[in-house]
Amino acid sequence: MNALDAEDAVRFASSLLTEPGARVTSGTTLPLHTDEHVVGVRKLVREHALALKLSLVEQTKLVTAASELARNTIKYGGGGMVLAQVLDSGLRQGLRLVFADDGPGIADISQALRDGYTSGGGMGLGLGGAKRLVDEFDIDSRSGEGTAVAIVKWKK
């Protein structure tokens, strides 16, 4: 099953606001269906963050944001995938992560971004919290079709 697939994620990723002319220098995708996959995403993002020479605090923020979003994809989206892309704008490098699922979608995105709001047993910090931990954040969700969340962290 991969109705909302890598192609959709890539299309969404390229529509995200980033520095004009930023090139994608590499891309990796991972499936997101089980608890272990979340751990796999943390590991992949940590490796990229190290390669970008992000500071320890920035690494930790990025990996934590990825962990929250990966869990959301599984828990609320019913599973999906993550795409990790290294960006190069000529001036700086960054990492873009796109989390995509083909779940029920989010009815009210601004509500979902609010701290303390949860539709299912969590603490309601995942989405809004993840947004605070990164440089760029974008979300696209369609009822009955799925949700894609993209984040970017730049090397300062």
Binding site: V63, G126, G129
Partner: protein, 116 residues
Amino acid sequence: MERIPILRIGDLLLVSIQVDMHDRLAMTLQDDLTERIVSDRAKGVLIDISSLDLVDSFIGRMISNTAAMARVLDAQTVLVGMQPAVAITLVELGLTLPGVKTALNVEKGMVMLGKR
């Protein structure tokens, strides 16, 4: 099944989390700890996270819940060894772990529990 070991020192329980925990493993630890508090008649729980380079909202919630459960079972919990980068990220995420006592390391945590 994968488990995080719980050590007993006198009337304290010590857990040192050394692996990147997936959610099920975190829940298993919470269950194991509450059971051990009762079966070992423990008065204190030390959770050492000095090896953890990430505490996200799920792990944070597990720690908060474990401390709350321990409290109603007449045991105190002290969280020790949090890395500075993890602390910065946790607070920015919006998690301040209310009700969880903290100490810089295991030794200081043990002193804290001994003074109760």
